[in-house]
């Protein structure tokens, strides 16, 4: 499958990608700003995400909450999301409403600050604190997604700290922070705009030039601290977390090659062989054969700079202890590290990845998001059209080489959640101290 792609850049630096598809009368608009939690300053964890909420609070010509209302009234769907290294905003609307979607995005890119008030900031701060309680604090294993990057990246690394942020830092966020963050990062030269679906490219281009053209270029992104880390941790890391949970759950992370680079695809296929669906190694060995796990999966974070992470995520069966679970998973990882994979396993993994990719690309929203992703990370949205070929080119030898290099004990970070009642708190505390020492070595 090849999708048509047209690109241009406005004089103010905004990079635009267009992809026509007239099978249904709908169109997706998608903006990636190249800013995420990695860009937050010290003492402001969670700010990139809080700022994302503020972008739905209106702009000079859009009232509070009117952004949502206008898009929904137009018959559209919309949202935004914040990640470690980017923030995206997107809507899918009936194709006759494309101009409205572009106008809304342009108004908040060019004219956000006049609409910002202390009251709106206070409200969204409380909304985000509730989001934190809901997704992290009051959710079993909910802290995994701040603990794992903290364990895997050194303290000075931009990916180390919490994306959702600490309550204390959220409390400290001010309107001055909003103004500074907006001026620094929400500029056309730090953004990619993608449009996918049923539209006329020439007409869309004219509209985009008219709405986004007058927005001034920014002063440039401040450089991030160095992102490069050694390809392996150097020594095993381990953290045990006694938590309000009923079953032990293990997250086992490996440093892996950054998203989209030549070495990434073998790592991604290795992840699928390890933990994608019922035919994967972890599922077959731990869930089906040995029945020590209730669930087993593996995934990559898809980080494009410094280092990616490949993660195995396994939940124990009720009678299985955390230590036993850890040992059982290690048997499978050791085997993969030592013996590599077969061509049949690669074929299964690539076939699954390919169908998933194709199925996702049926949606205009997904096409627009992928175009923005490859444009933001690599300046080349047409990479979306070679992803399947890149996966098909992966050989068993590539995956075996990856497993040999990256799945050894020197590249394993263990985050083990155990039910509070069963745990020996003293042991956990000493583990955390050990982690801190190791993390300091990078």
């Amino acid at each position: 499958m090849q999708i048509p792609i047209e690109t241009f850049r406005l004089p103010n630096g905004l990079f635009v990608t267009l992809s026509e598809d007239h099978t249904a009368p709908l169109v997706a608009v998608n903006l990636w700003y190249h800013v995420g939690s990695a860009n937050e300053r010290a003492g402001r964890t969670g700010f990139a995400h809080l700022f994302e909420h503020m972008l739905f609070q209106g702009s000079e010509n859009v009232g509070a909450n009117e952004h949502f209302e206008l898009v929904q009234r137009a018959g559209g769907t919309l949202n935004g999301s914040t990640w470690l290294d980017r923030t995206n905003y997107f809507e899918t609307v009936p194709s006759n409403q494309l101009a409205l979607a572009l106008w809304l995005e342009a108004d908040r890119m060019g004219r956000l600050l006049p609409a910002m008030t202390q009251q709106k900031l206070d409200t969204q701060r409380d909304v985000v604190k509730n989001e934190r309680r809901w997704s992290v604090d009051n959710q079993p294993y909910g802290t995994w997604w701040e603990r794992l990057p903290a364990l895997a990246f050194p303290e000075t690394h931009p990916f180390h700290h919490s994306l959702i942020g600490s309550m204390e830092h959220l409390t400290a966020a001010s309107l001055d922070d909003v103004a500074a963050f907006f001026a620094t990062y929400y500029t056309p030269d730090n953004a990619v705009l993608s449009v996918a679906g049923d539209f006329d490219p020439a007409e869309a281009r004219t509209t985009i030039e008219r709405f986004f053209g007058p927005i001034p270029r920014g002063a440039g992104r401040p450089p991030l601290p160095p992102m490069d880390v050694p390809p392996v941790f150097g020594a095993p890391r381990r953290q045990v977390v006694p938590d309000e949970v009923m079953l032990p759950r293990l997250f086992l992370a490996f440093r892996s090659p950054p998203f989209g680079g030549d070495a990434y695809y073998a790592a991604s296929v290795c992840g699928a062989i390890l933990g994608m669906r019922k035919g994967s190694r972890l599922h077959r060995a731990l869930v089906r054969d040995r029945q020590v796990a209730a669930e087993a999966n593996a995934f990559t974070y898809d980080l494009a700079k410094g280092s990616d992470l490949l993660v195995a995520d396994v939940v124990a069966r009720p009678e299985v202890s955390g230590e036993r679970l850890e040992a059982e998973v290690a048997v499978e990882i050791d085997r993969l590290h030592r013996d590599g994979v077969t061509a049949d396993e690669v074929a299964r993994a690539v076939a699954l990845i390919e169908t998933d990719f194709l199925a996702a690309m049926q949606s205009a929203s997904e096409r627009a998001d992928q175009l923005s992703r490859f444009a933001t990370y690599f300046g080349d949205p047409s990479l979306v059209n070679v992803q399947v070929a890149k996966y098909r080119a992966v050989t068993a030898a590539d995956v075996t080489a990856f497993a040999r290099e990256r799945l050894g004990v020197e590249n394993r970070a263990t985050l083990l959640f155990v039910p509070k009642a069963d745990d020996d708190e003293r042991r956990a505390t000493s583990d955390e101290r050990e982690v801190a020492t190791l993390a300091g070595r990078d």
């Binding site: 209302e69 600050l113 309680r133 809901w134 007058p214 035919g279 074929a347």
Partner: protein, 489 residues
């Protein structure tokens, strides 16, 4: 620094807000129906966009037909299909299916058992053959069934510490009568799952999995004739074994007592409500920083004639981001990350509920606001602007819902499952646009019962109980995480 006072950084004035262009036409994909001689039905919607095909097999063997005391049997049976056949063991099956670039999702919801695949066009024949193998010749190996039961037990255990799932489960329990099937989890309880034996699974399969109870839905890059040939080769030759069930499945959705079938049947209709008086139920999760709130009562069956007015009413009340409940709880009060209301549409009356998670110290205030919004929508007509927001959203978003072959197949599966009119999807947008303010008011008054609301809060009982009692909304019961009412409750 006051940001309000900052001038706009742009030298040129903003362009005016654009008006919409004329809408372009859309039609839900046309489909055709076929039926094979053995009774298997077929619905095909050719969609030639990407080289993909989605297939759903529907069998009238959902959780609503679980025998009393064996709740969870429908799900164990549906999952068990993929765990081995007379010719192939489960691990080999998974491997074969996944090499086709797909996975076989077998599941039972309340109303149906479902087998689902999405596969590339050129692998449809192989995928269909595998679907046929698991549906027609399952072996139900004892070891794999025991494993599936173990996995369900793990899920039940994990739920005790998971406030969202726990709140949903407890709400069902308090909204429906104790012996009504809907009061108990779709996948069964620890006791009912433990009681399931291989003989139960085999008997359930033989009575429920029959050609005349089965429909295949196909959507994607295939012609009707090709689909008919591919499906017919595999499923058209299926001859059922064993005896059919002793009663029509639909009898279970009636409102009167009915005789037992081969398994024995619960003594109440599956959607019988628990109580007709308002009550508050606190499920203790000590030190929880938030309360998971559920407020609602038994809703309506899917085929209710007021379906469209109720859908629009719910959109205004709590179905959209810009709905009353979300704007009140999230944007005006910042009690929560989000709040919504919804109907769970099933053959019999599924629940209507408002769901949210709020800071513990505003649990009572949030409950009060939810009740206020339910009262308000019954008291006077919604505004023109609110109504048009709901109807234009539901109308406009319609094509966006059906971008994928899987979504189109699911929509057609609902058509089959609920026996909706053949033109349901063609008529949908007109039906939505036809709902008036009076219709919404009438729907709210007819179908929302403030005095019957069950208010469930999973949270820090020590902190939230007294404030909830002070609201005076009804007796406050207190339970532990396993749902046992505690002595002081």
């Amino acid at each position: 620094m006051s940001l309000d006072a900052r001038p706009s950084p742009l030298a040129v004035p903003a362009p005016p807000r654009p008006a919409p262009a004329p809408p372009r036409p859309y039609r839900f994909p046309p489909f055709e129906r076929r039926r094979f001689a053995n009774g298997v039905g077929l619905v095909v919607a050719p969609v030639h966009k990407l080289p993909l095909v989605s297939v759903i097999v529907l069998v009238d063997a959902g959780a609503a037909s679980d025998p009393d005391g064996r709740e969870g049997l429908a799900q164990i049976t549906a999952k068990g299909l993929a765990e081995g056949t007379s010719a192939t063991d489960g691990a080999t099956l998974a491997d074969r299916v996944e090499r086709l670039g797909t996975s076989l999702d077998t599941h039972a919801d309340w109303d149906t058992a479902l087998l689902r695949v999405t596969v590339s066009r050129e692998r449809m024949a192989e995928a269909t053959a595998l679907l046929g193998e698991v549906l027609l010749a399952p072996a139900f190996p004892e070891r794999e069934l025991e494993r599936l039961k173990g996995e369900r037990q793990a899920e039940i255990l994990a739920q005790r510490a998971e406030p969202r799932g726990l709140a949903d489960e407890m709400f069902d329990r308090f909204a429906y009568a104790e012996s009504a099937r809907y009061a108990r989890p779709e996948g069964g309880s620890a006791e009912s799952v433990a009681a399931i034996g291989r003989d139960d699974v085999v008997r359930f399969y033989r009575t429920r999995y029959r050609p005349e109870h089965t429909t295949l839905v196909v959507a994607g890059d295939v012609t009707v004739d090709d689909a008919e040939r591919l499906i017919g080769d595999v499923f058209g030759v299926w001859a059922a074994r064993g005896a059919p069930p002793g009663e029509e499945v639909t009898a279970k959705y009636g409102t009167t007592r009915h005789p037992s079938d081969a398994f024995g049947v619960a003594s109440l209709p599956i959607d019988a409500p628990a109580r007709l008086t308002r009550a508050v139920h606190v499920v203790a999760k000590p030190d929880a920083p938030q309360s998971e709130l559920r407020v609602g009562h038994v809703g309506l069956k899917r085929l209710h004639p007021d379906y469209f007015p109720v859908v629009v009413m719910n959109a205004v009340l709590g179905g959209l981001f810009s709905s009353r409940i979300n704007l009140n709880l999230r944007e005006a009060h910042a009690y929560t990350y989000g709040a919504h209301s919804g109907y769970d549409w099933r053959r019999a009356a599924g629940p209507f509920s408002v769901s949210t998670a709020v800071r513990s110290d505003v649990t009572d205030a949030a409950a009060r606001e939810i009740l206020h919004e339910i009262d308000r929508i019954r008291a006077q007509p919604v505004g023109e602007e609110e109504l048009s927001l709901a109807t234009s959203y539901l109308d406009g978003v319609f094509p966006i819902r059906y971008e994928t072959t899987a979504a189109i197949a699911s929509a057609l599966a609902n058509l089959v499952l609920y026996k909706l009119p053949e033109d349901f999807y063609d008529a949908y947008r007109g039906q939505v646009r036809g709902v008036t303010r009076d219709d919404v008011l009438a729907a709210a008054r007819a179908h929302l019962y403030p005095e019957r609301l069950q208010i469930v809060a999973v949270g820090d009982a020590a902190a939230i109980r007294a404030p909830l009692e002070a609201l005076g909304f009804g007796h406050v019961h207190v339970y532990d995480a396993e749902g046992r009412e505690t002595a002081n409750g």
